[in-house]
């Protein structure tokens, strides 16, 4: 492929990608997509969160998983950075700590694809109070 250097090159690439993607039927409902949130505060950045995030962006698409990768701030688990929060459609958020590319692969293959729990989960319950009230 030729080098991309101008905005026109980017535009050309976009058209090329679009013509292929349309065939793949993206889910229209954002709720139905897997959400991956990478913590990107000072602690995360210093621990290498950027590399992990690029890995998720690349690999989720390669493996045909309809996911949206975003960044969040620090969740207070600085000791376990890089941390990644994964929300499977209709499920509670799950936070994984000490994520490198190897663990990211494990999270995609086992947790995102099959719902199996993997090492490095940081327990945190968003819903505790609400549940008690019910």
């Amino acid at each position: 492929m030729t080098e991309i250097k101008t905005l026109a090159d980017l535009k050309k690439k976009q058209e090329e990608v679009k013509s292929r993607i349309d065939l793949r039927n993206k889910a229209e409902n954002p709720e139905a997509r897997v959400q991956v949130k990478v913590a990107m505060a000072t602690c995360g950045i210093a621990a290498g969160a950027k590399k992990v995030m690029e890995y998720f962006v690349e690999e989720l698409e390669k493996r045909n998983i309809d996911a949206i990768v975003t960044q969040t701030g620090c969740m207070g688990y600085c000791f376990a950075e890089p941390t990644v929060e994964v929300i499977l459609p209709g499920k509670e958020a799950m936070v994984f700590g000490y994520v490198d590319n190897v663990r990211a692969d494990e999270i995609i293959e086992r947790y995102i694809k099959h719902g199996e729990l993997v090492d490095g989960i940081i327990p945190q319950n968003y819903d505790t109070i609400e549940q008690e009230e019910r």
């Binding site: 991309i4 090159d9 950027k50 962006v57 390669k62 975003t70 701030g73």
Partner: protein, 187 residues
Amino acid sequence: MVDLSMHLMDIVQNSIQANAKTIDILFEEKTKDHTLTFVVSDDGIGINKEMLKKMDDPFFTTRTTRKVGLGVPLLKMTCEQTGGSLEVKSEPKMGAWVKAVYRTDHPDCLPLGDIAGTLALLLKTNPEIRFRVLYRLDDDEFRFDSDELKQLGIDLDTAEMFFALKEFFTANFEELFRKRPCGSYLC
């Protein structure tokens, strides 16, 4: 922080937290003065006087999840260790402006790092924010405005477009950096 691109990511996060709609990023290298100036300015909610004073105190943060805030103090440390300086200006509702000056003739000057990848990542994950980037190297410059992407109908939804954008930045920076005279620690 190992390189400047990490500081870039970190300081821009502060702007994003401050609900900025437009974020301006400026790098300016001056060969004659041996300086690299790094400026991030935004139109976010701004910082009040009291907080501005505590800004470079590592044990101050607006967060409730933890008790230390190292973003700005680390930036201050890395630029001051080269003999440079850090300046922060802000007023409530008037956005914020952070300027760090590095001496490029000092061996402690941080390398630039993966600026292209960091910019691409910021653009991909914050599609609602307008980013304007200006990299000036003496008389040459590279300008970028994320609104131009929108006007051309380019979205970064796919990984392929993300890597294309990264390549676009890399190619442009490479061309610009070729004009940098050697002797600078940024080489």
